[in-house]
């Protein structure tokens, strides 16, 4: 069983839930950007949630299946087609032998996922199949997919999952639930209010490392740095320029900016799917 990449799209990588246990060695967690959509894709084809799948960003790929293949597509709506005909997403589907599965740009959302029943047959590196581009490890040869790549799939005895899950319409205007971060109290009451009352725009410089936000400058206290300490997924740092960055799955394990807020896991997934130019606002919640 295998698939062949005919066009790689913007940045298509193999991901799973990532590697958590090497953060003490400076290794980022990596893994799915939108865990919720990715795990749904795996669930729809009866895979374990941590199974390796394809993650596509903004512009989907074009691939050929060499044998009849069961798969599910979730996440951003990239206008999936099989041999030119629209196909249903958020459901397990059968792609016939030698058929071509193609995607276009995302109508809504940013990250789309393709899970294959049985998963992708790829070796783990440091406990995960996730691609980490800066260190060129994991996934397929440690890189994003290219035209001509042939990716092996696991053979699996199938039980067809005949469930259609309602499509998610990802919004470009979202409210992000946050907890107070470790340095929340470093900010003046004015700055705290400022951070919560204003909305921010997702910058074009956003990626798997972090989502940069742009808005009116947050006034910082004199002490605007800390002794380097851990960063985790969802940590909202305020840079020296007074702009927030939400750290995501490929973020460095430590940093020195003030950690003002921390997004809930649910909000991390929501934010991952907000397109460049989309608007977000923080709202405080308690444990």
């Amino acid at each position: 069983m295998q698939i062949e990449i005919l066009h790689p799209g913007l940045c298509t990588t193999i991901q799973d839930e990532g590697r958590v246990e090497y953060q003490d060695k400076g290794m980022p967690v990596t893994g799915f950007m939108d865990t919720s959509s990715a795990c749904l894709a795996n669930l729809l084809v009866n895979n374990a949630p941590n199974t390796a799948l394809l993650e596509m960003q903004y512009l989907g790929c074009k691939l050929k299946v060499h044998q009849p293949t069961y798969l599910a597509i979730t996440g951003a709506n990239m206008q999936a087609k099989v041999n030119g005909e629209c196909v249903v997403i958020n459901k397990m589907i059968l792609i016939p032998k030698n058929a071509i599965l193609s995607f276009k740009g995302a109508i809504n959302g940013v990250y789309a996922y393709i899970s294959f029943a049985g998963g992708i047959a790829i070796e783990s590196v440091l406990g995960s199949t996730s691609t980490y581009l800066p260190a060129k490890i994991g996934g397929f040869k440690g890189r994003s997919l290219l035209k001509g790549d042939v990716i092996p799939l696991n053979n699996k005895q199938l039980s067809f999952v005949n469930t259609k899950v309602k499509n998610t319409i990802f919004k470009n205007d979202v409210l992000l639930e946050c907890f107070r971060g470790p340095e929340w109290d470093f900010l003046s009451v004015n700055s705290q209010q400022h951070l919560l009352k204003n909305s921010y725009i997702v910058s074009k410089d956003s990626n798997r490392i972090g989502i940069r936000l742009e808005g009116t400058t947050i006034e910082l206290p004199k002490k605007n740095e800390i002794i380097s300490s851990a960063i985790i997924k969802g940590t909202v740092q305020v840079t020296k320029a007074g702009q927030p960055i939400v750290m995501m799955v490929d973020a460095p394990t430590t940093g020195g900016y003030l950690r003002a807020l921390n997004l809930s896991q649910k909000s991390c997934n929501l934010l991952a799917q907000v397109q460049i130019g989309g608007r977000v606002q923080f709202t405080l919640i308690n444990f």
């Binding site: 953060q23 060695k25 907890f179 470790p182 380097s228 851990a230």
Partner: protein, 226 residues
């Protein structure tokens, strides 16, 4: 040992020690890190030690947040000092040839030190690995001689080779991956500080001793590592 424990997002707790970078505070972080590691608590996913903090990442389906907080607040870390004994010294060969230490001449002029003096000072004593972070395998080293303190380059280079050894303000360090960077490069190690089979040569609490090697030895070791 003084520390406090605060909630850090949905699935982590942050242990903050005294707000300073010092070998004493490092000892406390190290003690807690190795002690918690040895407990192998079900549901603890990661421990991220830093200069004066330790972040404990846990699985919310396996451990209740408040229970873990109480546990961390009451662990008798100080009675467990024997755990934190790993202070091995890792030798890292460095070639300080000007073909690899591309900023050596500039550093020599700016610091008013001869190149041989720079090498002597840099390789004269072991450095304490306070923590790893920033990139996989990147060591935050303490104890750089004051005479080697030099600001970063005004314009960062777009590409610095993996293994490059640099100076920046009060720090010295080794680039584990090929990245852009603004450090003053004074040499290069033929060893991989990060490779997929071993995420890091060293761990926090180790010491690192740089050992000067010739260009010829550099190429020999590089060949062997391949």
């Amino acid at each position: 040992m003084q520390y406090d424990v605060v909630f850090y997002g949905e699935k982590a707790l942050l242990i903050n020690f005294k707000n300073e970078i010092s070998p004493e505070v490092h000892q406390h972080v190290k003690m807690c890190y190795f002690y918690l590691k040895s407990l192998k608590l079900n549901g603890i996913e990661a421990l991220i030690p830093a200069y004066n903090s330790l972040t404990v990442v846990f699985n919310i389906d396996k451990i209740e947040r408040k229970t873990l907080k109480v546990l961390l607040e009451n662990i008798p870390f100080e009675k467990e000092t024997k755990i934190a004994t790993s202070s091995k010294t890792v030798k890292i060969p460095v070639c300080y040839d000007v073909s690899l230490g591309i900023d050596l001449k500039e550093v020599s002029l700016k610091l008013n030190l001869s190149i041989s003096k720079i090498i002597e000072l840099h390789a004269s004593k072991p450095y304490l690995v306070y923590m790893l972070g920033f990139a996989p395998g990147f060591m935050y080293l303490g104890g750089l001689d004051k005479r080697l303190h030099i600001p970063r380059k005004k314009t960062p280079r777009l590409k610095i080779h993996a293994g490059a050894v640099g100076l920046a303000d009060q720090q010295t360090g080794v680039y584990p991956l090929e990245t852009p960077g603004g450090w003053q490069i004074i040499g290069q190690t033929p060893l991989s500080l990060f490779n997929p089979k071993q995420p890091s040569l060293v761990e926090m609490g180790n010491f690192v001793q740089f050992v000067p090697i010739t260009l010829r030895e550099f190429h020999q070791i590089q060949q062997k590592c391949k």
